[in-house]
């Protein structure tokens, strides 16, 4: 359809990437909505799940279900083995040094709250500053405000450009000996911008600050390596990366996690308990009080297996090493998404009355826009009527919406299974909106 597409078609043919094969592996994609084939473009809110993950969860309930880390019986040991195996897979997914640096939480929000509360309580004091960016999701704003209010610290937003990129000069100017934490979104959920977190981390470290990277939207789109980034903390929202809901990941550097006090108390996080003195379990259990989301963690493990298998498929050979397989998977998925994103930005931008928000060159497949004749909610309702799922609203980024001068946007967010035809459908839908409201 366009030149970029033509060039890349041969690349994808060689790479073993077949979008139809991938689509067939996600059962929900063959369903209908309002009598129309589902066009699912709300992956930024939550992605769909491959059949391998659904089956792994189902098999867990049918054949494995038992509590972990505390039974001598067969099922408990089987569940524990699978649970622990997932932790190792996440380590490989994030490129972490140790699997005990991987903490399972209830979600990305829970991961950030854990750090804000546990690290914040023991490291922040009155007069300290926490830097965040203007494009943060509420979940990387509010936890910092809560701890800042408690200790008398200040949360300061780093400005961004109109295109949606962090102003690094302004950031440099804001860093000082008062800066104790820089909490930054890796990939913007509203704009798609991939932030230069490696550089941001280097600058923060030079100023003596720690960095938390909110990777909720990075997980499904780009290959992450926390050691290469030198991130102090990194968080994932697993349901956005083809895994089940109710599971998040917190990566933290071993030394930092060891220094931090427990976040929640309970079972599984202790070494010994007495009424006089309780000692805590080592990492990662210190931060995993109570029975975890075992099925979710095992589902997450099967998601990473699925992604690694894609790596082998794209390479047309068996890639045994999981890190290498994930490298291969993301190499192709990132190239494919870039091409699809460029196409989407071009065809949406060509529609009269569409204003794109988030035009940074280095971005993932978040296609957000406003339409001059219709409010995003009306756009969303009309699109839903023809089977297209998008997100409308402020995307949990009210300060960003204010910065952009819009009350809300319509956001189409892509995943590995989306196609050019689906973007064409979106364009048809937007034209319908224009007919109705124009």
């Amino acid at each position: 359809m366009n030149v970029i597409g033509q060039i890349n078609e041969s690349f994808f043919a060689e790479s073993g990437f077949d979008v139809n094969q991938i689509r067939a592996e996600f059962p929900i994609l063959s369903t209908q909505v309002n009598g129309k084939p589902l066009v699912y473009l709300d992956n930024g809110a939550s992605s769909q799940k491959p059949v391998a993950v659904i089956e792994a969860m189902d098999a867990y309930w049918r054949e494995t279900n038992a509590n972990v880390h505390r039974g001598v019986h067969y099922l408990s040991q089987k569940a524990t083995r699978e649970f622990d195996a997932s932790r190792e897979k996440v380590r490989a997914f994030l490129g972490a040094k140790h699997s005990h640096e991987i903490i399972f939480t209830a979600g990305c929000t829970a991961s950030i709250n854990l750090v804000a509360e546990s690290w914040g309580r023991s490291n922040l004091k009155a007069g300290d500053e926490i830097l965040i960016s203007t494009m943060e999701h509420h979940s990387n704003i509010v936890p910092w405000q809560l701890i800042a209010q408690r200790v008398g610290a200040t949360v300061l937003p780093i400005p961004i450009s109109d295109a949606g990129e962090i102003d690094l000069d302004a950031y440099r100017g804001m860093l000082s000996e008062r800066t104790k934490m820089v909490a930054i979104i890796h990939v913007s959920n509203s704009l798609g911008t991939i932030n230069p977190v490696k550089e941001i981390i280097q600058m923060a470290h030079a100023a003596g600050a720690k960095v938390l990277v909110d990777g909720a939207q990075a997980g499904p789109h780009i290959r992450i390596n926390v050691q290469d980034l030198n991130a102090d903390f990194y968080t994932l929202s697993c349901h956005k990366m083809y895994a089940p809901t109710g599971i998040g990941v917190l990566y933290g550097k071993e030394t930092l996690l060891n220094e931090m006090p427990p976040y929640q108390g309970g079972g599984d996080m202790i070494h010994t308990v007495s009424f006089e003195k309780t000692t805590y379990a080592p990492l990662p259990y210190k931060f995993e009080a109570g029975t975890p989301n075992i099925a979710g963690v095992i589902g997450l493990g099967s998601t990473i297996d699925y992604l690694a298998a894609l790596g082998s498929r794209f390479e047309n050979r068996e890639v045994a090493d999981i890190s290498e397989a994930l490298d291969a998977a993301f190499r192709t998925l990132e190239a494919r998404e870039k091409e699809l994103t460029d196409y989407g930005m071009q065809v949406l931008g060509d529609i009269d009355g569409v204003r794109l928000t988030g035009t940074a060159p280095n971005k993932v497949g978040i296609l957000a826009f406003t339409l001059d004749c219709a409010h995003p909610h009306d756009v969303g309702t009309v699109l839903d009527n023809i089977g297209i799922a998008v997100r409308t609203g402020h995307h949990c980024c009210m300060p960003l919406m204010k910065r952009l001068g819009v009350p809300a946007t319509t956001r189409a967010s892509l995943a590995m299974y989306n196609t050019h035809e689906e973007i064409d459908e979106l364009v048809v839908g937007i034209k319908k909106v224009k007919e109705l409201f124009g």
């Binding site: 309002n34 219709a374 409010h375 995003p376 909610h377 009306d378 309702t381 009309v382 009527n385 023809i386 409308t392 609203g393 402020h394 009210m398 919406m401 009350p407 809300a408 319908k432 007919e435 109705l436 409201f437």
Partner: protein, 150 residues
Amino acid sequence: MSIELRELYQEVILDHNRHPRNRGKLEEATGYAEGHNPLCGDNIQVYLHTNGGLVEAVSFEGSGCAISTASASMMTEAVKGKTLEQVEAMFKEFQSMVTETGHAEEHPELGDLEVLGGVREYPVRIKCATLPWHTLKAALVGEADKVSTE
């Protein structure tokens, strides 16, 4: 365009959305309130002037979708010149019209507002239609508060 969608976005609604009536601030308002829908970011400000238990003038400002804008516009036309009791009765009638599924009754007293009944088939959009009314009510209550404290 499907029939259901035409049912939701009737011509009267589209017209009020394109050309909202009574939009803007009201000089010498006796009541004022802001309404906000945190779910979608819609916000509306309602200005009100009452005299001797009668709504003499009402206007609104803000940003919202076609449903909330049309609902606000039509509401300002409907309540002007009505007594506070009549406004209260219309509010209740309107709310039941948009929330009760399978509501087949006619609402002649609501006049044009009846076209917003289609919203009941779209649960997530009901709040868009009712936001202006809740804000109007808050403006009336706020006015009462002001009166009672003075």
